[in-house]
Amino acid sequence: MAILEVKDLTVNFGGLVAVNNFKLNLEKNELVGLIGPNGAGKTTVFNLLTGNHEPTSGEILLDGKSIVKKKPYHIVDMGIGRTFQNIRLFGNLTVLDNIKIAHNGSMDYTFLDGILRLPKYWKEESEANKECLALLSVFDLDGYAYTLASNLPYGQQRKLEIARALATKPKVLLLDEPAAGMNPQETSELMETIQSVKSTFDIAILLIEHDMNLVMGICERIICIDYGKIIAEGLPDEIKKNPEVIKAYLGE
């Protein structure tokens, strides 16, 4: 059974149909790419999946449960993590704190435990520290644990955002243009990171990207949308040759 199932998803902003009958079946441990020209509605699809927008019609099922009309933080708890096109880190906090905030859902000590520093606080905080540092070491960021997030180099900030999304223990990870602004070497590093994330954490990934090397290189399946509609879906090689995709997006 598909872990994420999207049926006839449509959203209107005033008279504009931003997403029109979008369909998706994301299997467990699958990596799917979402491409299309600027303004095609890719990020809007992400915002619908994470609850930032409410769909006009359609259904989104995560593990068989509907997530339509749920609050963003509730959807995170149910298992969808995301990154942003323009990096949104907690800049004035340390790298470790960035991860620990995302780890909040896995801790459940109360206000009283926290203020009086009861044993539960110590136990959960030290566990969280350990887990978060382990997660950082997967991304080679453990050396930066006590650096302010805004002081990290650009490529590391991108990695940290992915790590932070993973700290919420998602079943589905949505990556919005992870390679934006990266040079070719950083991009190829990122490809390896995404591959290893997929296998280590055993999750499904949906990815928006304009870098065709990356998309064609790692995606198992690609969906191309234009004006909110799916115009093609298939394996990378099929997409490359699809006349509609070439016309709308890839170019001659």
Partner: protein
Amino acid sequence: MKKSNQLVGLGFVIAFIAFVGISGLLFILALAKEPSVTYAYAGIVSCMLLMLVFSLAKKTSKTLKSYLNNAIAILIIIVIVYPLIAHNKSPELFPFLGGVSFKGYTTGIFILICINIVMATSLNFSTGFLGQLVLGHAGFMAIGAYTAALIANILFAAGLPIFFVIVLSLLAGGVLAALSGIIIGIPALRLRGDYLAIMTLAFAEIVRIIINNLNFTGGAQGLTGYASAQIMGLSKETFSLYVFFTMVICVAFLVLLARSRHGRAIISLRENEIAAESVGINSTKYKVTGFAISALVGGIGGGLFAFHMGFLQPSMFGFMKSVDILVMVVLGGMGSMTGSIVAAGVFTWLPELLRDFDEYRMVAYAVLLIVMMIVRPQGLLGVKEMSLSKMVRKIRAKLLKQSDGNLMEGGDE
């Protein structure tokens, strides 16, 4: 190996100096004719010694060390400041001071500084940590002050011991302020930035005008004759201890909260609300919580103010009061508790020193704010916190290097 030996040696030196100093103090105290004070001091000092030993012991964990260091610092302030305060009232208790003491006026300023620290740190919690500009903190202060005053009246008439009267009415003031914080917080926190600031400003004015028009609050004439510290027969000197410890508890509460998972969630809302929601932070819940906690502590500060003043008037809690507190927070650095504490101290003391130029105070504030915003927009300390443990480590490292740089002065938190 060599370095650790040096560390142990240093520990012994410190312990020795402390021992000599303290036994000297005990000897002088033994000369004093008030045994209870002597015993109390012996108790405090031996507590400090014990803490010092634990704090210097190698096996103690870093966190415990930092708690011990802070506790020692607080006790040191009490040991140094309290005799100065108490000496004025009863010089026979501390003969070794030889007439050096605070006047009642200075003690009053000490109390006001503590109250302002409570107000500034609590406002900093909503403005610097939660990131919502609040222009009506005096509103919460007013609610806390009037509630504490009215409740204290009832409790004192019922014959409760003074300690419980003060604690319970402070709590009542804080809780009512927190409730009003929740009630206006739920609609108000849907607004952002300037709009929220204006709404909180309006709230404070509404509170002031309501108090102005109610009968049981004394209206515009003010509330007098309630069970304030003076009327309950508490000397200024003893009351200053209540205020000091309430301040310590309030600041510790805010700092400890800020360093728990709830505090991190609140700070993440300041940093980036959309990102915070995308990692599962319930923004409404934590915003209202942060706002309510700020109001709670603000209300307690108001309660202390009521006990101290012995007279309440709605005009005390006008817009200027909110601005006074906000200036302390902004100049100290939004997001830095240490900054708020320092700024609250400076901006309570300075106006007292410059009493002669009272009319120009607001002009000076404006100029100072403009200069500050140009030179150092993040405030005195930015979001930095001063940590005693870090300082101890630094000083130790410096001493070990045998270099004599400027050692920073210690503070309380």
